[in-house]
Symmetry: C2
Subunit: 241 residues, 2 copies
């Protein structure tokens, strides 16, 4: 399998600019063969403004960006893309639009069969996984399914957040929410990517990059911590580890 | 319309026990005519433990509790109920189970036509509104719709949370998430109920109770703050204010 993925937890790290914290990894990932990247801004309402932000950032890294919302045919745009980047925002809105535009299977095919490199950030990382069951976002719209593009056979929780011991807020912690997911039958592993971390997948090899640890939730087992550089290739097997 | 509702933001307030912070309002609401309350524990996985907690608390207030998960026919249990209480937990799991058990229309009918008093807490408050589009919960399962029981024609965001100015976390604030909901067309008002607050509805009169302010989001207008005692009856009109 030619699969090449860069799945980033968050688009902006506190104190930095848009995609600043992962710009070296972006350049390493798309390399010099890719010249133009297809940007999918569906997770935010103002697509023009979002595309402008993405175009500026990628231009500074040496890439031209075409935004899919300006294409005559979104499906054709995916069919011709050299590389794909789906940005963050609301995951429900993003996934619903991907279904509405008939892009879910098209992107899967391009990435898994044709080896087109795929980068996602936040919501764009959620939709790259098997489902959006572990998004943090508010369900502002109702997509026809929570199953997503399925480029990897597990779930990711982006912006993974540790409990705040000083908080008096009584809503569930992130860990509690993921454990509730694992109370449901036949639920896959969930990789909690803290802000600052990202997963790079090259074929059947998956590696944690960035500056923060990741927390892995395997159904029925205690959660485990993993440092940057960790090998997560075992998560790419269809069967749970 | 006989409608009687007690919609509580949160089941437990920091430093207190289960439903302690609203126990006076519970007694005022169910009064002395109601002897037995039907409890719906579907939002949590361990229904036995949850029912035990609810039974103990309500017994201390003078009410017997029957848990719907112990009933031979959940639909019949709703048809016979003197009062209904839906507890908190995961809103998606709760709503999916209500649909699976054919209870959504049945509860609506009992409350809106027969005047059976309805209390909800957290997820149980979410499902009492027009939809669960403004839940905070993780979509761990896929309900057949986000439309919910519809006892009021607006949305509530329970556990409403102000932005933390000291946080370095870059996920969306609660307000940003609600504003994203209002970027979608034809979306209703959202009442943000902070922990400690609750809405009581008696027919066509709605009043904020508790110890914290509520924050109201009307699509296309600036959010507004409202103190305990505020009259929210205007939200009960079908047309947005």
């Amino acid at each position: 399998m030619n699969r090449r993925l860069l799945l980033v937890s968050n688009s902006t790290l506190h104190g930095g600019g848009y995609l600043d914290h992962c710009q070296q990894q972006i350049k390493d990932f798309f390399g010099e063969d890719v010249k133009r990247i297809l940007f999918i801004p569906y997770a935010l309402h103002d697509r023009d403004a979002y595309a402008k932000t993405a175009k500026q950032k990628f231009k500074s890294l040496g890439y031209e960006v075409d935004s899919i919302h300006e294409a005559a045919s979104p499906v054709d745009a995916v069919r011709k893309a050299q590389g794909i980047f789906i940005g963050g925002g609301n995951t429900f809105r993003l996934l619903k639009t991907l279904y509405d535009q008939n892009l879910v299977l098209e992107i899967r095919k391009r990435v898994l069969e044709d080896g087109v490199p795929y980068m996602g950030s936040s919501a764009g990382t959620n939709v790259a996984t098997i489902s959006i069951n572990t998004t943090n976002d508010m369900p502002i719209v109702y997509p026809p399914s929570l199953k997503s593009i399925g480029l990897v056979p597990f779930n990711i929780n982006p912006h993974y957040l540790d409990p705040d011991g000083n908080s008096k807020h009584m809503g569930e912690t992130r860990e509690q929410r993921i454990l509730q997911f694992h109370e449901e039958p036949d639920t896959p592993c969930v990789l909690g990517l803290r802000e600052g971390s990202m997963l790079v997948v090259e074929g059947s090899k998956a590696t944690l990059l960035g500056t923060t640890n990741a927390r892995l939730f395997v159904r029925g087992k205690p959660a485990t911590e993993h440092e940057p550089g960790a090998d997560f290739s075992f998560l790419l097997n269809d069967s749970s580890p």
